[in-house]
């Protein structure tokens, strides 16, 4: 009872997507009777994140859950924690191979590049051969991987199709709109989360292009669910963050209590939420989905 578990993410404070995970660990902690802490670098600086991992290890918890935002940066701190005898589960970004190389018990997540690639394949199947990737957090390496995967699946060189949109909704809307008017032949759009998806929806709406352009996005929210139902967004890539938060807590507590652990990594995504399965998802979008 009361095992202390720490989850260290790479996301800045204001990243809304991580709330699902926060909600999931809160729920899992409550159900399992474990004490789960969420830690993140306030500005999203990965070097700060490494310090937080080291620090989490210094408090000698029953387990650490950590994202592999950057293998190089986190290799030292994570292996040190593993060497110290602390069980580690990796989640979210990164691959199962990297997880194994770090000595983690398992990985629950979705490789960013593959997710982007999967989205690209869907777009290609619809006949897209040019695209726009709206990147609202370009300084974060994972974001570029997603766009890159999408580009590779379409088989086009990635250049100025990935725009550095910034985070201001009005600027995003107008930048998307400007790009589309300068490149009217664009036939697919990928947004990397609600921050860029919502303004993009508005841009398409005010340009009268809603439903005209193939539109895929990462992650879910109320507006995105609405747009999927309205045939504006084709799909949302759902990596089921809930699982990424919930599962590791359950596994780590059970490991601490009974010494049991599953033998394999879990691919929590990419799952594609489309018009067909939206009804189920919608209710908890943004909170548990």
């Amino acid at each position: 009872e009361g095992e202390k578990i720490v989850l260290v993410s790479h996301a800045p404070d204001s990243d809304s997507w991580w709330n699902t995970i926060k909600n999931a660990i809160a729920l899992a902690g409550e159900q399992m009777g474990a004490d789960v802490d969420y830690r993140n670098p306030p500005t999203g600086d990965l070097a700060d994140m490494a310090r937080i991992v080291e620090q989490a290890a210094a408090t000698d918890p029953a387990g650490i859950i950590v994202t592999i935002a950057d293998f190089d940066v986190l290799e030292g701190p994570i292996t040190a924690a593993v060497d110290q005898g602390i069980p580690v589960i990796t989640i979210n970004s990164g691959t199962a191979e990297q997880s194994r190389a770090l000595g983690a018990l398992m990985h629950v997540g979705q490789p960013e590049y593959d997710a982007g690639y999967g989205a690209g394949l869907k777009a290609k199947a619809q006949g897209a051969d040019s695209f726009l990737c709206v990147n609202h957090y370009i300084t974060n390496p994972a974001s570029v991987e997603r766009c890159q995967g999408f580009a590779d699946a379409l088989g086009v060189e990635m250049g100025s199709q990935m725009i550095d949109s910034g985070q201001d909704p009005s600027e995003i809307q107008n930048k998307v709109s400007a790009y589309l008017s300068a490149n009217p032949e664009t036939d697919a759009i990928l947004t990397l989360g609600p921050t860029s998806a919502h303004p993009t929806l508005r841009a398409l709406d005010s340009d009268g292009l809603s439903g005209e352009i193939f539109f895929g996005t990462f992650d879910l929210s109320g507006e995105i669910a609405e747009a999927i139902k309205g045939d504006v967004i084709e799909f949302a890539i759902d990596q089921q963050p809930f699982l990424q938060g919930y599962l590791p807590v359950v596994v780590l507590t059970n490991l601490a209590r009974y010494g049991v652990v599953p033998g394999n990594s879990v691919n929590s995504g990419p799952g594609f939420v489309t018009k067909d399965n939206i009804a189920l998802v919608e209710k908890y979008a943004g909170e548990y989905r």
Partner: protein, 365 residues
């Protein structure tokens, strides 16, 4: 000093020597530049014009506040955080607590004005530089915003404001567009294009004048009038030029500065409210780095960072330059990560030009 010791200065040159000259020159340059490289990309069609107008108007709203405050000798780094904070307050009150939208907006304005007041009083009473005080508020308000929104909704994006704002007696003043019939008529007589494909085929490409633009224009006119025509404007210059001297001759410097902090906060709240009403959601990361962007507009517009000198028209042109350059780069298809490089370069060139102009005015070497 009599005239014999003055060299001839042409009338033209004298007329040109004004704070906003640099910004005027910059605006012309920027337009010529983009007309050349992106003239055929739709940037100067009705839709394109609306595009950069809206972006510029956003910058202008916060730039007017920052401009008056800067002329009064202070500046406010908490503008960006205040934008995020005000938005989240409106969304929590209206969506989570179920208050009417107009009440939420009024409360948000009241809170922002109070925060501006606190900023001002802290700066005045402690004698600390406003950089430090408002930097502290940059952190405090951003932290509170994130904490509040997670506490009440478990999310950092709070949506659904659009639904509750339907038919609200105040919300229309911040979202939406006006003059729709005029634009419809313009489209009918063929002066603006209509959509040819998509869901809106047949409608004019520009629906009307967004309220955002109306607010920007109103604030610019108000700020300009206040600064150049009124007694209070003279005091703003005085408070920023030399606060000790101003105080000696009886200018209520403290009151002027505190009011300007409140005005800046008011502008930030207008910005936030417009954004919430237009996008129907508030997020904890809204307004990030907006404080710098406001300062950049103001400085491009010819104001002196140390106070006592500047013009609202200049700041508005600075906002226009900022908006046009940002959007223009997208229209012209330049690599978007280079935007920051352009922005920095323009900033430096603009201030160098402005400094040269100011030296001509004051005659210093």
């Amino acid at each position: 000093m009599t005239d014999e010791r003055l060299r001839e200065v042409s009338r033209l040159r004298r007329a040109m020597i004004r704070p906003e000259l640099g910004a005027i020159a910059g605006t012309i340059l920027v337009f010529v530049f983009f007309l050349m490289i992106a003239g055929d990309s739709g940037m100067f069609g009705p839709k394109g014009i609306q595009n950069w107008t809206v972006v510029s108007a956003q910058f202008a709203i916060i730039a007017v506040g920052a401009c008056l405050l800067m002329i009064a000798g202070e500046f406010d780094l908490s503008v960006g955080s205040m934008i995020g904070f005000a938005g989240v307050v409106i969304a929590i009150l209206s969506v989570q607590w179920g208050w009417p939208v107009w009440a939420s907006i009024i409360v948000a304005f009241a809170i922002c004005l109070a925060l501006g007041f606190v900023n001002g009083v802290l700066v005045i009473k402690t004698g600390l530089p406003s950089f430090i005080v408002t930097l502290a508020f940059l952190y405090i308000l951003r932290g509170l915003t994130i904490w509040l929104s997670i506490l009440t909704t478990r999310q950092t994006i709070i949506g659904g404001v659009k639904d509750v704002a339907e038919g609200d007696p105040l919300a229309w003043a911040f979202g939406g567009v006006i003059l729709k019939p005029v634009f419809q008529w313009l489209a009918d007589i063929g002066l603006i294009d209509t959509f040819t494909r998509g869901t809106r085929a047949g409608q004019p490409v520009v629906e009307g004048v967004p309220m955002l633009v109306v607010w920007a224009l109103a604030l610019i006119v108000f700020g300009h009038f206040l600064l150049t025509k009124t007694k209070f404007g003279n005091w703003i210059f005085a408070a920023g030029g030399d606060k000790q001297a101003a105080r000696y001759v009886g200018v209520p410097v403290d009151r002027v500065k505190i009011l300007m902090f409140m005005f800046t906060a008011f502008c930030a709240c207008v910005f936030a409210t417009c954004q919430v009403m237009e996008f129907g959601s508030a997020a904890a990361d809204r307004g990030l780095l907006k404080e710098f962007e406001a300062i950049i507009c103001v400085v491009i517009g010819g104001a002196l960072l140390t106070g006592g000198y500047g013009s609202v028209i200049g700041a508005a042109l600075g906002a226009l330059i900022f908006g046009v350059v940002q959007q223009g780069l997208f229209f012209s298809g330049a690599e978007s990560s280079l935007f920051r490089v352009f922005l920095g370069t323009i900033l430096i060139l603009a201030v160098i030009l402005n400094t040269y102009i100011r030296r001509m005015i004051t005659g210093e070497r």
